[in-house]
Symmetry: C2
Subunit: 96 residues, 2 copies
């Protein structure tokens, strides 16, 4: 299983609802994907221009498939236009 | 419910196992806390010096209690000494 944190900072002046309406569509479609365990969109409590996906995928192949999906290819470029920055990290849980 | 992402970057040359041994103790004790839903420690797939907690708490009060716990007060300062940087964000999931 892999976890993904995708932290986006919106450009100043961007309408957050415009961003969220597009992002909600990605959430809805992504949750139907076979290899998706968890896919959430989260707003920073202290800064509403920081919007972060916290995700769990069965494996890296599932994430690769996601990145080639129609909803990602169609909608994510529009989201990126509204962002100042995007920070993506892929993680494996450590052994305890 | 709130989510927390705490992303730490270790100082160059720090022994990752030394860091993990301390961090595992925090994980073990934190998972016993009443308001803790999920508490995981994750290593970046592409950079093993990036170690990130992905957490879920029942509410902000539970997180405040955690930050005053003995294991946090005793161990987290030692972890911070081994880190170059620490980035903490608190999140609420958006409405879909």
């Amino acid at each position: 299983m892999i976890r993904v944190v995708c932290k986006a900072k919106l450009k100043p002046g961007v309408d957050i609802e415009e961003y969220l309406n597009l992002a909600r569509e990605v959430v809805k479609e992504t949750r139907k994907e076979k290899g998706c365990i968890m896919y959430t969109l989260n707003e920073d409590i202290n800064d509403s221009s920081i919007l972060t996906n916290i995700e769990e995928w069965v494996d890296e192949e599932a994430l690769n498939q996601h990145n080639k999906s129609e909803h990602v290819l169609n909608i994510v470029p529009k989201l990126r236009e509204l962002r100042e920055s995007t920070e993506i990290n892929l993680y494996r849980e450590v052994k305890y």
